[in-house]
């Protein structure tokens, strides 16, 4: 068995070593090298890139990224919980409704982000509709704002919150709600004191599934935020392309990974069911 298993594991191990581990090792080494005159990396070794990260400017970007991710998570939770509740009580149409939630998500992420550009532009659908309805004269500048990025991220990640919530709520024992009602609780009370606590594993899972990807978001702030809403992903992309400062970009990438891994470690410790 061991030999077969080793052979079976070989292709994936190769891919993981060569294309996941080695690249991360390379950027780790780049993060302690110096930027060449016009780009590239060269000796001497230097911690300058890491020290530069401690500048309040870049800590500010990290803080903004965390804040945006937290806002997206909170909004997804607020919007997604009632929907998950509805789904869990939907009876025989459950699968259909579930598919309807997932359907936009299964299509192209790029296209869905572009759809928001199409809506929010000055000449976009929302503005032309409002002008046509006579509600405004000049177009509102909706695109290239933090709000646009927030909307785009919530739109992109809502299904990730709804599914775990739905899974947790569906497993919930209905008799507990009946018991609460028998004891005289109002619907809102039983919601707050019975349903939500029982759904908390789903809430935690959904929060992680939304928060972590949002930390690394790049495409949404790039297309919807213009160069005004700079998140960690935009900074990293910029350093590896236009700015050609690979050491600094590498340090920023690893810092972002570190934040993500720390958060995950905290979560994994509390959860029982692994994904793999």
């Amino acid at each position: 068995m061991n030999r077969l298993r080793a052979v079976f594991l070989l292709p994936s191990t190769l891919v993981l070593c060569v294309l996941v581990a080695a690249p991360l090792a390379i950027i780790l080494s780049y993060s302690v090298l110096t930027r060449g005159a016009y780009g590239g990396v060269e000796l001497p070794l230097s911690l300058e890139s890491w020290l530069r990260l401690a500048d309040p400017l870049y800590l500010g970007i990290l803080a903004r990224t965390v804040a945006m991710a937290a806002a997206v998570t909170a909004l997804c939770l607020a919007l997604g919980f009632p929907l998950a509740l509805f789904l869990s009580r939907a009876g025989n149409r459950k699968n259909l409704y579930l598919h309807l939630v997932m359907l936009p998500f299964w299509t192209s992420f790029l296209v869905r982000t572009y759809a928001w550009m199409f809506l929010l532009r000055d000449t976009g659908l929302i503005n032309t509709t409002l002008i046509w309805l006579g509600l405004i004269q000049e177009p509102l500048s909706l695109l290239y704002t933090p709000g646009a990025v927030l909307a785009g991220l919530v739109y992109g990640h809502l299904p990730f919150m709804v599914l775990p919530l739905y899974a947790a709520l569906e497993r919930m024992d209905r008799s507990l709600l009946e018991a609460a009602a028998d004891l005289g609780a109002q619907p809102w009370e039983s919601l707050a004191r019975v349903v939500i606590p029982l759904a908390s594993p789903g809430i935690r899972a959904g929060a992680v599934l939304v928060f972590i990807p949002c930390l690394g978001a790049y495409l949404t702030p790039d297309l919807l935020g213009g160069s005004k809403t700079v998140m960690a992903g935009n900074l990293i992309q910029n350093q590896f392309t236009h700015a050609r400062d690979w050491p600094f970009g590498s340090a920023a990438s690893l810092a972002l990974m570190a934040v993500i891994l720390v958060l995950l470690a905290v979560w994994v410790r509390r959860e029982k069911e692994p994904l793999l």
Partner: protein, 334 residues
């Protein structure tokens, strides 16, 4: 069909396409007539892959590795020295470029490449302010782009040299300043301006200017003329404090193994009738001599008194370049 067969045929299909005679050209967007490449392909049988970029940085990011796959790129004149120092360029063989004589006299031996060893000057222009005629008073100072009345209706170029340059000129300094103190003052100005801006955009902004959503944009003269062709409400101003001048020229990359095909393409671009065709699309002042009536455009070929206010970009020393890049990252992150 099992997996192995499938993989083999996929690899085969990928390889097939590489056997044609190919030339890979990377140029600024909107810098060539859509008819030029098909005509060249028909005449010479050389298939051209033509892709576009919006900024020198975008091009350099791809090319600096030395194995990008491009044969010809079009850097601005001040990028020439850095590219040369990185060993990225192949010398031009004048024997393969008989049409070089078609260049305008001042571009036959420009200060940045006096013997035209490395570059073939292509199009030139200046940076100014493209604005909507309804704006009163007209923004013909760089300082106008810092006024509160412009809030959210203006953009600047997505180019560190241009943004810092405009700020330096606003402060009464030279856009080519190498002084760290002056550059930091310029950065402060740029950061103060940031909240007024809609964004840092190059040619992407033209649509919004034509539509009237953006009232004033820092723009290159060729982009401005393209926009003005689409809308009669637009004007272009070369700011009174001074403005930068640039010349974009073609270079053959040292990594290219298709030198002869590359030179044939460049020689084709140097033909007078092709230059006129390109002018109709790019709407830029050309380094190749155009008929007098096309040179009568005051936006593209500013009169002597306006031109006197312009200064050609200079290649900054390495330390200044590094400082500029760092200041730009800070501006974008602020």
């Amino acid at each position: 069909m099992n997996r192995r067969t499938f993989l083999m045929s996929a690899a085969g299909a990928a390889g097939c396409r590489r056997n044609e005679a190919r030339l890979n050209v990377f140029n600024w967007s909107g810098y060539i007539s859509p008819r030029v490449v098909p005509r060249f392909e028909e005449e010479t049988g050389i298939q051209v892959r033509y892709a576009v970029y919006e900024s020198n940085e975008e091009m350099l990011a791809r090319v600096i590795s030395g194995n990008s796959g491009w044969d010809i790129v079009f850097p601005s004149h001040y990028c020439l020295q850095p590219m040369l120092r990185q060993g990225l360029l192949a010398p031009l063989r004048h024997g393969w470029l008989p049409n070089l004589a078609n260049l305008e006299r001042e571009f036959q031996s420009p200060p940045w490449d006096q013997e035209l060893r490395w570059t073939m000057p292509y199009l030139w222009g200046g940076t100014g302010i493209l604005y909507n005629a309804r704006l009163a008073p007209a923004p013909d100072f760089w300082a106008s782009m810092w006024e509160a009345r412009m809030e959210r209706r203006i953009t600047m170029l997505n180019d560190p040299a241009e943004v810092l340059g405009a700020a330096l000129l606003k402060l009464g300094l030279s856009a080519n300043s190498s002084d760290a103190g002056e550059l930091r003052r310029a950065q402060k100005e740029a950061l103060a301006q940031k909240r007024l801006l809609r964004g840092y955009l190059n040619a992407e902004v033209l649509d919004q200017v034509v539509a009237g959503d953006v009232q004033a944009a820092q723009a290159w003269s060729s982009s401005a003329q393209q926009a003005m062709d689409e809308s009669g409400d637009l004007r272009f101003a070369y700011p009174r404090e001074g403005f930068p001048l640039y010349a974009d020229g073609a270079v053959v990359l040292r990594e290219s193994r298709r030198a002869e095909a590359a030179h044939r393409f460049l020689d084709y671009l140097l033909r007078p009738e092709v230059a006129v065709l390109n002018h109709r699309t790019a709407r830029s002042a050309s380094c190749i001599r155009l008929p007098a009536e096309l040179r009568a455009n005051a936006v593209l070929y500013p009169p002597a008194d306006v031109l006197a206010r312009g200064e050609w970009w200079k290649t900054p020393p390495v330390s200044v370049q590094r400082l500029r890049d760092r200041l730009w990252t800070e501006i974008l992150s602020g």
